[in-house]
Symmetry: C2
Subunit: 197 residues, 2 copies
Amino acid sequence: MSLRYAILAILTAAPLTGYETAKRFEGSVGHVWHAPDSQIYPELRRMEAESLVEGREERWGPNSLKTRYYITAEGEEAFRTWMATPLKYAPWRDVAHMQAAYFEWTDPDSVRMHLQQHAQHYQDQIQQWSSQVQDIESHEHPMIAARLQRYPAEQHERIVAYKSFAYDGLIRLAQAEVDWANRGLQLLADLESEDAG
Amino acid sequence: MSLRYAILAILTAAPLTGYETAKRFEGSVGHVWHAPDSQIYPELRRMEAESLVEGREERWGPNSLKTRYYITAEGEEAFRTWMATPLKYAPWRDVAHMQAAYFEWTDPDSVRMHLQQHAQHYQDQIQQWSSQVQDIESHEHPMIAARLQRYPAEQHERIVAYKSFAYDGLIRLAQAEVDWANRGLQLLADLESEDAG
DNA sequence: TCACGCATGTAAATTGTTACATGATTGG
DNA sequence: CCAATCATGTAACAATTTACATGCGTGA
């Protein structure tokens, strides 16, 4: 159900076509919530059927149409309700850590590969999220710019602060993953030197 | 597909009935990988059909039978292959952080509730994982005890070290979540005092 | 005119969740 | 004998992934 609220969230900043929505899920929002276009088009239609969004047709070139989706009052209400509802925390599921618990089942080179890949992956994430934070704080981010226009200036600080805060949390999580992988590489080195010594 | 490998992983320590397997996913392994019994029974049968495990019937009381599943050589091989294969990192999905990015859509009390719940949830996780680590390091953990019996003593340190390492990573991630929630509560207080001032 | 981006989907398969369902065994 | 635990499932639904599929518009 979260896809629905992710869509509502971005439509609160500006109305979008299905294509644009899907692009957001590859770009900015996609760094917090991913969804493929094959999921987005049908979801938008379902949401329209439930009057959470309203699709308005627009000309696109001489012979074509495209549909731009606007969040409705009902959609905003549903979003607000969700925002005020406690989250259900899903039971934990973490392949990388599960696999690490059984590293004795593979050789040291493979362990090293896993840990290096882990560190690399989360370093890349840190890069992406950091650049998001920069764009947010400088108000360069296109979605942020669109969003701020809809609010009085005294609200801007709060809006930006929450978004920075969210991404900052993700960055620190990713940093914890990188640190963990590095501690694992150290552990591996220790175990290997013991074997040799 | 990870459920399959999680099952293989615990069957490398000891053969189990479907019921026992499901219990493991509520208890020890469940702290790293969760699955309901409705998923486990059919998966075990599929795995038996693919000769990754072998089910042997056992008497259970005077009139009943139960099936105990043993990992096969083929199953071990599949597990080893998976252990040596690089993970695919799934695109990020994080409801709590996504929601936090839109906190301006709800009132301060609700924000506080979310953040307190978040901190509480991860503090509970830390408790659980910490007690796992203790049981692992003291070799008190029943699965660990069973597992160590199958290996020569010089392997024990390595096996225990990897498991501690895995749980330690989870604990630090959870701590990062708690810290994040607390920074959020501080941010909220700052924003509220600004409004008041 | 051709490549690239914009636009919109369908279909099949997999995976996971929730709820329902049943009955035997064991220990107090 | 009764409650808790052991044992094993089915059914319906929801969510997600992967692959396939099509065609117009715009700018170089």
